[in-house]
């Protein structure tokens, strides 16, 4: 594998890790909405939430901001328009 391909697959696997964590959190959110008294599920939710924030920080510091309106810090320059849009990348 050449260096370019290696870089690309590192980005892809970090993105996939983030998608997995966020999906688990979506599932837990829906479950907890109808089972608000499940303490173990809340603990798992908080544990995954912390993990997700770490992975998101790692991803953003390398590949640019993911969230709008100040929920992600921006580098200078303002790269938000220039990082690839979700419907443009090859998964």
């Amino acid at each position: 594998m050449n260096a370019y391909k290696e870089k690309k697959s590192a980005k892809k696997s970090l993105l996939q890790r983030l998608q997995e964590l966020e999906f688990a959190l979506v599932e837990l959110q829906l479950y907890l909405d109808t089972h608000p008294g499940d303490q173990r599920a809340v603990m798992q939710f908080n544990q995954l939430s912390r993990k997700m924030k770490q992975v998101m920080y790692m991803y953003e510091s390398k590949y640019g901001p993911l969230l709008q309106y100040g929920h992600s810090l921006s580098p200078y320059k303002w790269v938000w328009p220039y990082t690839p849009w979700p419907w443009e990348i090859h998964y």
């Binding site: 901001p65 709008q68 921006s74 580098p75 990082t83």
Partner: protein, 216 residues
């Protein structure tokens, strides 16, 4: 993907029921130039918008329109919440009440349901951005007519904020239209000067931004 934030963009104060005003305000919920039309129009046009800055703008303004939709819904909900069926009828909302009780629904002030024919995606960036500028101006005018009709100073505070946002959106879309026109001019110049090797270069410029700039 999207994330919901459980708060309004601005505080919304409504002190007394006013179904007559609610009937007018619902124009901006499910009307042609309302917030639903705006959000769906921009968030749908962005996929085929070639200019990167215009694409970001459609995403970010489209998302703000979702927040405005929630502000309008909150105003309408609070204005009808404590109204009696008799008051609803007097306000011209008898037919609405018969179908929906106090539930929110996507209709305009005259009771017509929202339709996708209110919006367009032409695939041509100049046509789409020109529509977006017109939509913002129409929404600004609608907010002005609503302020003229309203007798509630607290509701007017929210309406004035929303009117101002339409002005800002219109100005940003005008800048995006200028950027797209510049793209075309540059393309025409480079083609005439024989500097353009591939036609796809027209909109694919990263404007000097490199992956190193993504680092925080």
């Amino acid at each position: 993907m999207w994330i919901y934030e459980k708060k309004l963009q601005i505080p919304v104060r409504v002190n007394k029921p006013n179904p007559k005003l609610a009937k007018f305000l619902i124009e901006q919920y499910g009307g042609a130039d309302g917030e639903l039309s705006a959000a769906l129009r921009y968030l749908n046009q962005r996929y085929s918008m070639p200019n990167k800055r215009a694409k970001a703008l459609l995403t970010d303004i489209g998302t703000e329109e979702m927040a405005h939709l929630e502000v309008i819904a909150t105003l309408v909900y609070k204005l009808v919440k404590d109204a009696t069926p008799e008051q609803m009828k007097e306000a011209g909302l008898g037919e609405y009440y018969a179908d929906h009780d106090k539930a929110l629904f996507y209709v305009n002030a005259a009771g017509n349901p929202w339709t996708a024919t209110y919006i367009q995606a032409k695939g041509d960036p100049i046509a789409d951005l020109a529509e977006d500028i017109a939509a913002e101006e129409k929404a600004r005018a609608t907010y002005q007519w609503l302020i003229n009709l309203s007798d509630d100073p607290d509701v007017n505070e929210a309406l004035k904020f929303l009117r101002e946002r339409e002005v800002v959106h219109s100005q940003r879309f005008r800048e995006a239209l200028y950027l797209v026109e510049e793209d075309y001019k540059k393309y025409k110049y480079e083609r005439e000067e024989g500097e353009l090797w591939e036609t796809k270069d027209m909109f694919t410029s990263t404007e000097g931004i490199t992956p190193e700039d993504f680092l925080r």
